[in-house]
Amino acid sequence: MIVSVASGKGGTGKTTVSASLTTIWGRPIVAVDLDVEEPNLHLFLHPAMEGNETAYIKIPVVDESKCTYCGACSDLCQFKAISVVNQLVMTFPEMCHGCGGCMAICPEKAISEGRRELGEISWGSAGSAGFLMGRLRVGEAMSPPLMRQVKARLNAMAAGGSRDVIIDAPPGVSCPAVNAVIDSDVIILVTEPTPFGLYDFQLAWEAFCPLGKPMGAVVNRAGVGNDQIYHFCQDKGLPILAQIPFDRAIAEAYARGRIITEVSSDIERIFIDLKEGIRHLAERRSSKEAAHA
């Protein structure tokens, strides 16, 4: 089972929820940080790192001795990453999405593969849990290509489904967030009961609904703000799987890099119930699928 923890609004508690779930999961698990722009999960799980590799994207390198300046490459490129003007060909590596179109279409076979660094992928273990993260190179604009490579390694680590997976997703509802949750079995949306929390939660719900995956909500800082989030969840039939109370002791524990299930047995109980709720959601889905088959 792959569980994504996403949010819409940033700072609602995705990493807190991911870290807490990882520690109480009770079955073989891999925790993955796909918020490659600002990965934080390692700050709470303190994994022992076992390996890392640099991730690259393939970009064009033009052999000018073969180039006839026909312009087929720049006509095809949708990202303004290669340009032919008169007797000059220029590449703009930072614009390249790595589609390989220019290399395939060049009639002179004048374009070969170079590479641009995307960032780093590293892995290890946190207690009995496997751990995997991507870290985008500062200055690199595109996170989805790095996320795809992290997920490729995840497939090996999850050992054909014998280990569950918890994905700590990036905030927002645009392409990086959708990329993070697209392969999961269950999506958990973490929000807070404030106007900002509600608005971004609605956007996230709209963005993820077309994926057709079971979703559940976690309301963090319950007690601040207002109760509109509960009305929204009720309207949409979205189950609230957990509520984490607004409590300074929790905020301070988080601020010290602690996993909040350590604060009290009540908090730990909330996450154990959340875990059960997630499993129920996933089972409901697989029994539905079995019924369709």
Binding site: G101, V138, G172, C175, P195, A207
Partner: protein, 290 residues
């Protein structure tokens, strides 16, 4: 004209609440929400739309099943895993399609269309704090960086035409595409952080990003009392790198109270929080040379 962007690295540190307050404190400005993915500033400023424009950007491949000969060239060449075959033929998954046109160019049957995408809308609005330029990218869409560039251009033109000398921008979390776009041509980035391991970690990355793009950088520590030792570490980091710390704000429920009332913090009765914010804004003005 000067331009300042409020960013954070980590989400949820208080960017938008503080930008709203600065919009209240600043004179002669255009307000601009560059978090086009999950924008929230409009929830405080309640803009009245005066102009609405569609944002079209990028393309999406669509296979015509009538013309498709099921050769599989498209799926073999797609580097994004966006094309799969099912019982009814090959199909493009719009959520994975990068819009690169490779499948269109190499389809021997010319069976793939390539329509442009309507990715969102943008607005020029009036608010009680002044004119505002903002947008909403449709959920799940891409090209947020390009939309950010459109908004910045509009905000600058609006400021010029109305004889205003400041563009005040609310930015997005992270260090990727929309944040990089929001830094282009900006005089100053103000990062709002919090004294948590995540807050400090993400602040350091966003500081590196601003250094990389040679944008001026200053810091506000929000919720500073949550972990005073971590606040000190952030201050030491800033001292070491020569980044001014403009304010240290306590963790105060009035921020959420203001939000619930759709007001900004400085519109509530005066508090230590709002006084500290006022001092921060004066320093921002000084850094901008206003």
């Amino acid at each position: 004209m000067r331009e300042v962007v409020i960013i954070s690295g980590k989400g949820g540190t208080g960017k938008t609440s503080l930008t709203g307050a600065f919009a209240h404190l600043a004179a002669k400005k255009v307000i601009c929400d560059l978090d086009v993915d999950a924008p929230d500033l409009h929830l405080l400023l309640r803009p009245a739309h005066q102009r609405e424009e569609e944002f079209w950007s990028g393309y999406e491949a669509k296979i015509d099943p009538e013309l498709c000969e099921r050769c599989g060239t498209c799926a073999a060449m797609c580097r994004f895993g966006a094309i799969h075959e099912n019982d009814s033929g090959f199909r493009v998954d719009p959520l994975r399609c990068e819009g690169c046109k490779v499948c269109v160019a190499f389809c021997p049957a010319d069976a793939i269309e390539f329509p442009q995408k309507h990715c969102g809308n943008w607005y020029v609005s009036s608010t009680r704090m002044g004119p505002m330029v903002h947008a909403q990218l449709f959920p799940g869409e891409e090209n947020s960086g390009r939309l950010v560039m459109v908004l910045k251009q509009q905000a600058r033109e609006l400021a010029e035409s109305r004889d205003l000398d400041l563009v005040l921008c609310d930015g997005a979390p992270g260090i990727g595409c929309p944040v990089i776009s929001s830094l282009s041509g900006t005089d100053l980035a103000v990062a709002v952080t919090e004294p948590t391991p995540s807050g400090r970690h993400d602040l350091e990355r966003v500081a590196d990003l601003c250094r990389h793009f040679k944008v001026g950088f200053a810091v506000i520590i929000n919720k500073c009392d949550l972990n005073p030792e971590e606040s000190k570490r952030i201050e030491a980091f800033c001292r070491d790198k020569d980044y001014p710390v403009l304010a240290s704000l306590p963790h105060d429920r009035i921020v959420t109270e203001a939000m619930v009332q759709t007001l900004v913090v400085t519109e509530l009765p005066e508090s230590e929080f709002s006084r500290e914010l006022g001092r921060a804004w004066e320093q921002i003005e000084a850094l901008l040379g206003r």
